[in-house]
Structure formats: structure tokens, C-alpha cells
């Protein structure tokens, strides 16, 4: 017994430098914020932009989290995720427009109730659609990346067309509820109310997801499955069921994000899902496929970058995110915090 303990090294704690390096991905967000401050050189503008960037980042995170887990768990790249975003937005808009009395009222409670109902309807619709999508579109092509990309892209096209069929060919204006319009001015800092709500919802989702992944057995299984699905099966769990669950949850989150994004832009189109999907992809790649924390970091980076460059050089806003992605991939070819395999 004694010589057995002798061969085990002391608490495996790598040297300080190594630990700092491992923490480096987490520092990218504050570093980018500082760089933004240096470039903008005006504290109140910077604060406004940073808040806007965080809000945008949170919204993107909501939509990207499901995609990254679906990929991590089953190696499935789902282009149809964009369809869930659009459909969520349209379902949510229908509910909000039907509850015109509530949204036009200046009561914050009624406004929030309307938004909550819209979100619930959107999540239910996209969750259900996600289940259908997984069973019918994705399941037959497990393990074949090329076919997955083609088939889910096809699903996206069909879903976009179905939106046109149901809601008509035109974009729909989606005004924010009364109490969420406008902004507070604190000193010289402009704080848009809706952005604050977006940050709150995004943070809640992130904390909720983290809690579920760390504290619940289901979460443990998902994290274990992302790392080594085969071993999870060998321990007696059906990873397939786990995957359907994550797929449905991810689709519902995309629907939630769609509603929130629609209210952010105050206009929704059938193509919005595909356009946002591009941002979502950038985020997921930056974060490292399969990692929820990486996805969160990536989303904040992209949100901040988009707002800083949108202010400094509006013409290259999206291009700047591509550059960000390229830079991060040059530094870490698998993204900031890739989910460990094996």
C-alpha cells in the first residue's frame, strides 16, 4: 500500500505559467474590450457599444449553444439550425402581434408577459420542429458529413419556403413592446432597455446551461458524450436518446434566440436565419466545436467586435469578424476551448 502511494505524484498542479496560458482564452474578451476602448478613446461611447456588443453576443450565444452541443455529441453539423431561428421569430411575432393590446400597454408586466408567451410559443414550435427534423432529416445521414450538410441545407431551403407560404413573402415589422422601447441615459452613457433585457436573458441561459451541464446527471452524460460517446454507450446509456433531447433543446433555444433577435432588429424575414447562422458558425468555430463555454466566449467576442467595428469602420463590420475568426484559428486551430476528445 505504501509504495503504491509513493508512485503517485503530488497533486497534479502544472506550473503557474502553464496555468496562466490555459486561462488565456478567457482573457480574450476583456482584452478585446480594452482594445476597443483604446481605439474608440471615448468612455461613454465605449460603454454604450460594449453593452450593445454584450447584448448581441448573448443573443448569438443563445442560438449557437444548441448547434455546438449537437455537433459535439453526434458529430452532426446542422445547417437547418438557421431555419429554427427564422421560424421561432415568425411564431413569436405572430403571438406578439396577436397580443397587440398587451404590447401597446405601457405596463412592463403586461409587456413581459407578452414576450414570455411569444418565447414559449416559439420554443414549443421550434422544439417540436427540431424533433421532427432530427427524426426525418438528420437521422438517416449520421456519420456522413457531406450528406448532412446537403440534407440540412435542403431542410433550411424548404423551411424558408414554408415561412413564405404561411406568413407571406414580405418581411414583417416587429415593434418592441412599449416599456422595452427607448433607453435610459446615465450621464453620457446610453443604455437601451431592450439590450439590458437581452443581456439578462442571455446570462440566465448561460448560467442555466452551465448549471445543467455541471450539476445534473443528464449534463454529466452530455459532457461525457461530447468527449467519448462510445464509452458512454459502454457504460449502458443510450446516447441516441441523449442526442434527440439535446437536438430538441438546441432547436428550442434557436427559436428563443429568433424571437429575441427579431425584437432586437424590429423586423423579421425568412432569410434572417441563414444570415444569423453565419454569425453562429463564426462563434462556434471561434469557441471550439462542442464547447458551451467556448461558444459563450466566442459569442461575446463576435458581439463586441461587430459593435466596435460597426462604429469605427461600418463597412468592414462582418469582415472584421472573419478576421477575428482567422486570427483565432491561426492561434488555436481547434478554437478557443475545444471539447476534449479522448
Amino acid at each position: 500500500m505504501t509504495d503504491r502511494t509513493a508512485e503517485t505524484p503530488a497533486v497534479p498542479s502544472p506550473p503557474l505559467k502553464e496555468r496562466l496560458l490555459a486561462r488565456l482564452p478567457y482573457w480574450t474578451v476583456p482584452l478585446l474590450a480594452l482594445a476597443g476602448l483604446a481605439a474608440i478613446a471615448d468612455l461613454s461611447t465605449w460603454t454604450t457599444l460594449t453593452l450593445a456588443g454584450l447584448a448581441m453576443g448573448m443573443l448569438i450565444f443563445i442560438m449557437a449553444s444548441g448547434l455546438t452541443l449537437v455537433f459535439g455529441l453526434m458529430d452532426v453539423l446542422n445547417f437547418g439550425h438557421g431555419a429554427f431561428i427564422s421560424i421561432g421569430a415568425f411564431v413569436g411575432a405572430s403571438v406578439l402581434l396577436a397580443l397587440g393590446g398587451w404590447t401597446a400597454s405601457s405596463s412592463l408586466a403586461l409587456n413581459l408577459a407578452a414576450v414570455c408567451l411569444a418565447i414559449a410559443a416559439a420554443m414549443a414550435a421550434t422544439g417540436l420542429l427540431g424533433w421532427f427534423f432530427e427524426r426525418v432529416i438528420v437521422k438517416p445521414v449520421y456519420g456522413a458529413h457531406l450528406k448532412q450538410i446537403l440534407v440540412t441545407m435542403g431542410g433550411l431551403i424548404v423551411a424558408e419556403q414554408l415561412i413564405h407560404l404561411i406568413w407571406g413573402p414580405n418581411q414583417i415589422p416587429l415593434p418592441r413592446p412599449e416599456a422595452l422601447k427607448g433607453s435610459w441615459v446615465i450621464g453620457e452613457v446610453v443604455v437601451e432597455r431592450y439590450r439590458l433585457l437581452a443581456v439578462a436573458v442571455g446570462a440566465a441561459i448561460f448560467l442555466g446551461l452551465r448549471w445543467a451541464l455541471v450539476r445534473t446527471k443528464l449534463g454529466l452524460l452530455i459532457r461525457a458524450g461530447v468527449e467519448n460517446g462510445e464509452m458512454v454507450e459502454a457504460l449502458g446509456y443510450r446516447i441516441q436518446r441523449l442526442f434527440v433531447l439535446v437536438f430538441v433543446a438546441g432547436s428550442a433555444l434557436a427559436g428563443l434566440g429568433g424571437v429575441m433577435w427579431g425584437l432586437y432588429d424590429e423586423i423579421i424575414t425568412a432569410q434572417m436565419g441563414l444570415n444569423i447562422l453565419i454569425l453562429v458558425f463564426i462563434v462556434v468555430i471561434i469557441g471550439g466545436l462542442g464547447s458551451v463555454e467556448g461558444c459563450f466566449l466566442g459569442a461575446l467576442l463576435v458581439g463586441l467586435m461587430a459593435n466596435y467595428t460597426g462604429f469605427l469602420a461600418p463597412k468592414v463590420a462582418l469582415g472584421s469578424n472573419i478576421l477575428l475568426m482567422v486570427a483565432i484559428l491561426m492561434w488555436r486551430p481547434r478554437g478557443l476551448l475545444p471539447a476534449g476528445k479522448g
Binding site: 462510445e230 459502454a234 446509456y237
Partner: protein
């Protein structure tokens, strides 16, 4: 003779275009530790993976306690009470030691008595209980992987080359732990290249070559017969001693 716990008959497995198992016949008697020996590429790992349902058998049967495993999916096979310690250990690096153990205990509750028993065999696991398993050393990961198979009573445990890449002192610890596990009358099928470990633990032995079992018998007989060892195992095992 009583029906063995596990019996493979005429088992064939293809991986892609390669024909790996070419008719494996193997019996694993209840309550014994059966050693599966053979040179690299003989099909030992594939045999374990086929039993676990991780590769599909293309022909032949795997009968376990009277039921046929071949048509079952991996989770169902595991639920019959079969534990698996894969060659790469299959430790979830991002999860803590505790979380790894919680997942292995399918009931969800860790049995404190069993846990104490495991800790007495592998004290390192108690020390690093709430650290990510990725921080463990190779030997500790192997201990965790075996501990996962011991956390609940299993009828059969498949262990793939536990000594691989480990220092002799750690191998001693593993041997001691396996002897403990044997005392619980757990049936074990173990793949091993390290003859010292095989000799110390094996009751029965089967030697594979080119996707078939070419010899089976008692470990003690093989250990005593230098000529047979030389013929069956050549230098590949001698080099490990």
C-alpha cells in the same frame, strides 16, 4: 461441465474491408479470470469490442448467460452487467473523478462501502476525487477506468491491456487490485501483453493469432511450459518481462 458465462462461437468481424476476426471460439467460465494473449494485431481488442457491440459481428454468436448478445446494442449489453475497460481507458477527461464514477454507477447512487473498498485499492482516486480526470497520470487514469468497472457489482468485466505503458510499480498495484476483484467472484476477460501480469492473474488462458484462438487451456500449464510459450507467444511477450 457447467455452461460457461460467456461463449463465443465462430465469431467473424469485418472492419471496413478488413476481415479481422476469422472465426473466434472462446469460453469464459463463470468466476474465473480468463487471459487473452497474442501478438499485436491478432484480434484481441476487436474480440472485446465485438462482445461489447462496438463492432458488429458479421457471423457467429456471442452468448452471455444464455442470451445472445449479437443483436443487442452496446447500452443494452452493458445493462446486462458487463463492464468494459477499453484500451485507451475511456476516461472522461473533462469530468472530475467523482463524476466519472457517478456515471459508471448507473443507479445514480455511489455505494459508500464499495467506494471505501475501491479507495483502499486506489488511494489516489480519493485524493483527486474532485479534480478533472484529465489531470491524472496515465496510471491513475487506468485505475479510474478499472474503478468504474468495479463501482457496481458486474457479472463480467472486459479489460483491455491495463498494463500498457505503465511503470512496473503501478503494474504491481493493478495486479493487487485485480486479485481483490477476483475475490468478489467477478468473471473477468482480460487482454494482456505483459506475461508477468498474465501469469499472476490468469486462471484460464486463450492465445489468439490471425483472428482465431489458436490455443486455450489453463494459465498454470502455459506458465510451466517454456516450449509452448515460445511457440505460441514467441519473443513478443518475452520482451515485456
Amino acid at each position: 461441465m457447467a455452461e460457461p458465462l460467456l461463449r463465443l462461437a465462430g465469431l467473424h468481424t469485418h472492419i471496413g474491408q478488413y476481415h479481422i476476426l476469422q472465426g473466434v471460439d472462446l469460453v469464459v467460465p463463470e468466476g474465473e479470470l480468463t487471459m487473452l494473449l497474442g501478438r499485436n494485431g491478432a484480434g484481441k481488442t476487436t474480440t472485446l469490442r465485438t462482445i461489447m457491440g462496438l463492432w458488429r459481428a458479421s457471423a457467429g454468436s456471442v452468448s452471455f448467460a444464455g442470451s445472445d448478445l449479437a443483436p443487442l446494442a452496446t447500452p443494452e449489453i452493458a445493462r446486462l452487467g458487463i463492464g468494459y475497460v477499453p484500451e485507451n481507458m475511456g476516461v472522461f477527461a473533462g469530468l472530475t473523478v467523482r463524476e466519472n464514477m457517478v456515471l459508471a454507477a448507473r443507479g445514480g447512487e455511489l455505494d459508500q462501502g464499495r467506494l471505501d473498498w475501491i479507495f483502499s485499492l486506489f488511494p489516489a482516486l480519493a485524493r483527486f476525487w474532485s479534480l478533472p480526470a484529465g489531470n491524472l497520470s496515465g496510471g491513475q487514469k487506468q485505475m479510474l477506468s478499472i474503478a468504474r468497472a468495479m463501482v457496481e457489482p458486474r457479472r463480467l468485466v472486459l479489460i483491455d491491456e491495463p498494463s500498457k505503458g505503465l511503470a512496473p510499480a503501478i503494474v504491481d498495484a493493478l495486479i493487487e487490485a485485480m486479485q481483490e476483484l477476483k475475490r468478489t467472484a467477478t468473471t473477468i476477460l482480460m487482454v494482456e501483453q505483459n506475461f508477468r501480469m498474465a501469469q499472476a492473474l490468469g486462471d484460464g488462458v486463450a492465445v489468439m493469432d490471425d483472428g482465431r484462438v489458436v490455443h486455450s487451456g489453463r494459465m498454470a500449464e502455459l506458465a510451466a511450459d517454456q516450449a509452448l510459450q515460445g511457440r505460441l507467444l514467441g519473443l513478443s511477450l518475452g520482451a515485456h518481462q
